[in-house]
């Protein structure tokens, strides 16, 4: 790159930065958001948190109930993810270019993935709430549908990049479609798929809290109950236990990833 070109790039960077600042200011002005007021509210908010959100002896007595609900939520997330993964493997195989049977099925798989992914989990929870009512099945289904969308998409990509060359080689030996999928495609893309499934389990435990608030199930509902009855000490305990659970699960899945890769 010439010296002139580098100077030009510097100018472009400066202009881009100025534009971003202008947009920030403009959007704050339009929405009547005052930065100063926002910052001024911080100390008070933090003060409230410290005076209310701490775990007391009394709230610890509720720990067994909370843990019960937490475990229920974790298992629901795992169940939703693993069942969704099974559906997604089939959709992924149908949708991938290397393994698609025909273009109609491929479009169908991609369409399902796109629809279920692009509607947020919260929206799914509310939609399903109307048809299935307030029970744990609704929460499970909301997570399931969102997970199918996401996993199908990443499975399609894993399969696409895994082994088009090995697929060609096995086709040339006269192997059948199922041989090729089972002996070339799956072995090559399985570690990546498992890694995505683990990622999705973590994500689902996080979002199941929100889904739980909406559908009245699991740890989300517990959180909501304590929150509405202004038992903030219990709320703190619930939050703490969720964070702890997510961190533990994350550490576990990181370890599993390291072993299988």
């Amino acid at each position: 790159m010439s010296e002139k070109g580098m100077q030009k790039r510097k100018w472009q960077l400066t202009i881009a930065l100025l534009i971003i600042i202008a947009i920030t200011y403009l959007s704050a002005a339009i929405t009547n958001f005052n930065f100063m007021d926002g910052f001024a509210a911080f100390p008070e908010a933090i003060g409230w948190m410290f005076s209310n959100l701490f775990i007391t002896q009394e709230s610890l007595e509720r720990l067994p109930t909370i843990l019960d609900k937490l475990i229920e939520t974790i298992f629901m997330s795992i169940a939703a993810t693993t069942t969704a993964a099974i559906v997604s493997i089939f959709l992924g195989i149908m949708g991938s270019k290397t393994t698609s049977v025909n273009s109609l099925l491929s479009v169908f798989a991609r369409f399902i993935a796109s629809v279920s992914r692009n509607i947020p989990v919260v929206a799914w929870a509310l939609i399903l709430l109307l048809s299935f009512g307030q029970n744990s099945l609704t929460g499970y289904l909301a997570l399931f549908v969102g997970t199918v969308g996401f996993l199908t998409r990443v499975f399609i990509e894993s399969i696409d990049e895994a082994s088009p060359s090995a697929v060609e080689a096995l086709t040339a030996t006269g192997a059948t479609y199922f041989h090729i999928v089972n002996k070339a495609v799956i072995p090559q893309s399985l570690p990546q798929m498992i890694s995505w499934i683990l990622f999705m389990i973590e994500t689902n435990i996080r979002s199941s809290t929100l889904v739980g608030i909406l559908t009245g199930t699991g740890i989300g509902y517990t959180f909501d109950m304590y929150y509405k009855s202004m038992n903030y000490n219990a709320v703190a305990l619930v939050t703490f236990s969720i964070v702890l659970a997510v961190i533990i699960i994350e550490l576990m899945s990181n370890y599993i990833r390291k072993v299988i890769m």
Partner: protein, 254 residues
């Protein structure tokens, strides 16, 4: 005796880009034939028309009395078991072991269920080890393929082709990604094994010298047409220039 007969073979994509134009030649059983030509001449497409990895636009390909152009799905699969294929980039499943990759060559003989469950007979496994020993990579049998060097991986590819008990082996630039040493090992193995087992061999090559050294017969391809077909000693400098459409010395920078 004519073993593989190609008559008037043409291939075009979308009726626009013509890759092969009216190709005709016969190959006798047990022949070792090299196909040379510049990049984009249609060498790979020609090989893939023979086992119909690409569809044929026009013309006839008859392999061992079977009209390849007309075969239906199941018959085509059965026919492919008789044709081994070796690739430039080896096309193995990198995460699987050497022995698993070699046994993939037997899948064409299996029912879907047998293949999916991986039920291979003792003879097949012994045969696989026999081939690995022959190719000098027996000690790597339980290693993952992505731990092997290029030359070793290509030998796994050859073992996978040989375990099919093929009558014909198609090699698509088998040494194009290998260093000279590994190239020589691969070519020596291909030559000696196909001679020993009386397998016909069609091989795409970039290196004219290698083609001259190893093959009985050379076919020159340029822009989808056969421009030379004859025994290797008839391939003169003039003919080579004709195939590559330019002076040889400009092409090769050794």
């Amino acid at each position: 005796m004519t073993f593989l007969q190609i008559a008037g073979l043409s291939k075009s994509y979308n009726n626009e880009t013509t890759v092969l134009k009216d190709i005709s030649f016969n190959v006798k059983a047990g022949e070792f034939v090299s196909i040379i030509g510049p990049s984009g001449a249609g060498k790979s497409t020609l090989l893939r028309c023979i086992n119909r990895m690409v569809s044929i636009s026009d013309g006839e390909v008859v392999f061992d009395h079977a009209p390849i152009t007309k075969l239906k799905k199941r018959a085509l699969r059965q026919l492919r078991t008789d044709i081994g294929m070796v690739f430039q980039h080896y096309n193995l499943v990198p995460r699987l072991t050497v022995i698993e990759n070699v046994l993939h060559g037997r899948l064409g003989y299996k029912s879907t269920l047998q293949g999916v469950l991986g039920r291979f007979t003792e003879e097949e496994k012994e045969h696989a080890f026999f081939l690995l020993r022959k190719l000098g990579i027996e000690e790597h049998a339980y290693k993952r393929c992505d731990q092997l060097s290029g030359g070793q991986q290509q030998r796994v590819g050859i073992a996978r082709a040989l375990i099919q008990n093929p009558k014909l082996i198609l090699c698509d630039e088998p040494i194009a990604s290998l260093d000279p040493n590994a190239s020589k090992i691969i070519m020596d193995h291909l030559k000696s094994i196909t001679t020993e087992l009386e397998i016909t061999c069609l091989i795409n090559l970039h290196q004219v010298e290698v083609a001259q050294q190893y093959s009985d017969r050379i076919i020159g391809l340029n822009q989808g047409e056969v421009v030379f077909d004859g025994p290797n000693y008839k391939l003169t400098e003039e003919k080579i220039n004709h195939i590559y459409g330019t002076q040889m010395r400009e092409l090769i920078t050794v």
